[in-house]
Structures are given as structure tokens and as C-alpha cells.
């Protein structure tokens, strides 16, 4: 059943990357106060860590989509199938 990927997530990968890039631009511009820079920097590090953790997500096995008698789409985890 579709149990995977439940807790999601303040920012998606690409959004997080975009945010980090924006932070870098801000720090680079020199227009932001040092204190704010430090806050931004911390946020950037957190975002990058989040991206790393997304990338290193555990391997997810292929599952199968089927429809039941009512036409409702379901995900069936195929633990017994070995798609080699």
C-alpha cells in the first residue's frame, strides 16, 4: 500500500537549491548586515544538509500500480518481485 513518503517536507530539493543560491547571492552582494548574513548562512547550511539527505534517501523498490473493481488506483509493493 502507499505508505512510503509520508512526512513531507518544507521545501523540495530544487526549491532548497534555489534558496541556497539566493542566500549566496545575498551574502555576495555585501548589502546585508553581518548578523543577518550569519543567520542566512545557518539557513543555507541547513538547506544543503536537507538536500544531501534527500539524495541519500534509501533505495526504493519498484512497486506496481493496479486498479481495484471500483477503478481506484492502488500502489502494491512488490517485495517478492526481483526486477533484475
Amino acid at each position: 500500500m502507499g505508505k512510503a513518503r509520508t512526512r513531507d517536507k518544507p521545501l523540495k530539493f530544487e526549491q532548497a537549491i534555489e534558496k541556497v543560491e539566493a542566500i549566496i547571492d545575498q551574502i555576495d552582494s555585501g548589502e546585508v548586515e553581518l548578523e543577518q548574513c550569519l543567520t542566512q548562512y545557518e539557513a543555507g547550511v541547513k538547506l544543503l544538509n536537507r538536500c544531501y539527505s534527500i539524495l541519500s534517501a534509501a533505495e526504493r523498490k519498484i512497486a506496481e500500480l493496479t486498479t481495484d473493481a471500483q477503478g481506484k488506483l492502488k500502489i502494491v509493493e512488490t517485495s517478492d518481485r526481483n526486477d533484475k
Binding site: G2, I24, E59, L65, L73
Partner: protein
Amino acid sequence: MARLPFDSNGSADPTARPAVGNVARSDTPLTVSQVAALVRGVLAEALPAKLRIIGEVSNFTARTHWFFSLKDEQATLRCVCFASSAGRVGFRLADGIEVVATGRIDYYDAQGQLQLYVEKLEPVGQGALELRFRQLCDELRQLGYFDVERKKPLPTMPQRVAVVTSRTGAALQDVIHTAARRWAGCQLLLYDVHVQGAAAAPEIAAAIDTLSQQGKPLGIDAVILTRGGGSIEDLWAFNERVVADALFRCPLPVAAAIGHETDTTVAELVADMRCATPTQAAMTLIPDREALEHQLRQLSHRLVLLMRRRVDASRQRVDSAARHPLLQRPDRMLAPLRDRLTTLSRLLTTGALRKLQSSQQQVEALTRQLGALGPRNVLQRGYSYTLRPNGRVLRQPQQVQPGDRITTVLAAGRLTSRVETNGQANATSPRRRGKRKADDDTQRELFT
């Protein structure tokens, strides 16, 4: 009773088909219906039940049934294709198209002409499927199915991708292997469908429609529609209108890779991304972990570097501020103030002195002025005053009597005199006395 122009005994049915041999031998006239029946019989015996005839289509009209002629340089043949057969043709007939028509030739009694009753039509030159493909492409292009503007961007980090293909096909394995090699964090969901045969197109269309309606709540971000190589007939399901319609409606981005790189199907043209092979579809849709990690490393490096640079710059500012002479020798900050104070105090002193001097001078001047008015100075100018014998100032002659000794005070000393007369006769009136009193007062002021 009029005699019939033919021998009516025996064969009373005018439509009854006379034997060909009998007709040849008999002079008996035939009814038109008999001739028609005769012709049909001859045709049925002489011609095969099915003929394949090649010719160019002309005078094409499509009502419920299709009517047209097949012709070549010398001959024309009327053709009719009933609606049931026309529905199976798969391409649109038009004048000028060269076709192979399969059917039977029969005689149409009512119009007295030979007709080909068409059961199957195939275009010549380009295959029927090819023509059908081209015509469907034209139609869908006009409807905007291929417009670039309506193509949806593929997600950069799909979490779940539905793979619509056959469980047994090689395409699925290619997708699985490629996905695993790139990023295992993306889950593939197989939607098993037939990818060839009559069931394929409706199954594929239904799968796409189901994903359109229910895919998003299941966290499906994108769809791969794929199939391995095959003949045009094998791939045909992906050229069917139902599949194109389903793809056109699908709100999820779809990457399609059907057949070999050289094959093009309608499904691929309608899909948001057309990929050459199943492997390429997986590569297009599933991010490469290594490349992304490289990107992340670069971003981390830049972030740290810039932050360090920023902190260094701030530290330098603090350092240079700390090195400023004023902060190094704070007493110097007071020097200008001290100078100012000194100047002011000097100005104050000199000012005060000057004021004092001028005041002194003023006092001296006034003293001198006052001195000039004093009795001694008056005496110096030659005035004198006289004292009565009692030592008091003599102001009126009546205050002394003749014989009285009076003392006159001069600037340089005194002299004593004796009064001879006091001028009694010149006594003044009371009014004059008032005046005299005023004079006395003036005189007194002189001495006080």
C-alpha cells in the same frame, strides 16, 4: 388478350435466370430483370469471389456509405464501400489517392451497372498505417496537441514515477536499471499494460486517464510511457487517437519513448517530452545523484567561502577602526578641546583686563572731572571766599557789621580784613531774597 412477346409457357417467372446456353440458342426476348440476373450469374461464375483492384480514386462522396470510382488510363469502375467497411478503413479517402480495393464485383440491377462492393481499402505507395499516421498527425497538430506551449516541464526531483509499459518488455528493464544507476530515491511504479494488439490502445489510454485523475494524491510526479522496438503495426497502439487524447488531457508530465530511435509515434508527439529510448526517458526524468551531489558540494563550498570572506572583511574593518589614532591615543581626542579652552581663557583674561583698564580710565577721568569742580580748583582759578568772625562763610553783607574782622580764603592762603561798610542801603526785596537763597544753594554745592 395480347400475346406476350416471348414464350410464356413453362418459365413463367420473368426474373428467373435463364441458362446461358439456352439464351444463346433462343430468340425469345428476355426481361431486363432476367438480363440482370443473367449478368449476375455470369459474373458469379466467371469472376473470383474476391478481387484486388488497383486504381485511382475519383468522384468520391461520403454519405452514410462511400461512393467513388476507381480508374486508370483506360477504364473506370464504380465502387461502393458500405459504412460498416468504411469504418475499418483507418484513413480518409480522397480523390487522387491510389488504392488497392478488395471486394466482389456485382451487377447493380437498379442502375444497370457493374459495381465493386469494397470490403477493404489500402493506400498504394505509402502504407495504410503510414497514411493514417500522417492524417492523424495533421488533425492533432491543428487541434494544438503538439504545441510546444502546452508541454509541461518535467520535475527535477520526482519522488514517484509511473512507468506505463508491459511487465514483460525489455523497456521496463532498461528504465529500472537506469533509474537505479542514477538515483534510487525515486520510486518507480509499474502500470502494466498491453503495448501491442487490439487491447493495447484502450488499455494505455485508460492507464493514462487513471493516472491523470488519481496519480497526484499518490505522490506520482511524472509518467514514463514506453515500449521497445517493433514494426509499425506493433507500435500502432501508440498512434491511436484514444491514446493521444488521454495524453493531451493528462495533467502529469509524461516522457514517452516508443520503439527505436527512428520511430515516431503520435503518443511521443503529444507527450511532454519525447525520448529516443526507454533508457533515455529514465535519464531525462530521474536525476543523477552524482551530478547533484557535485552541485551541492559546489554550493556548500561557495557558501562557506563567501561567508568567510564576509567575516574577514568585517574583522578587517574592526581592526582598522581599532588602529585609528584616536582610538590608539584617546587623549589626542581632547587636545583640540584643550586648545580651545586655553584660547578662550586667554581671550577671557585679556578681555577682562581690558575692561578693567577702561573702567579705571573712566574712573580717573571722572575723578579728574570731579576734581575740576572741587572748591580748591575753583580757588585755583582765582575765586575766593570769606569767613565771618565766627568762622562761617560770609554770604551776605548783612551778616557782618562794620568793624568786624573777616577772613578771605585764597588758593594760596588767607588774609584778614576789617569791614568798613556792609552796604545796608542795598537791602533786597523778599523776592530778591528768594533768588539769593537759590544762589546760596548753588554756592553750597560748590563746597560740599
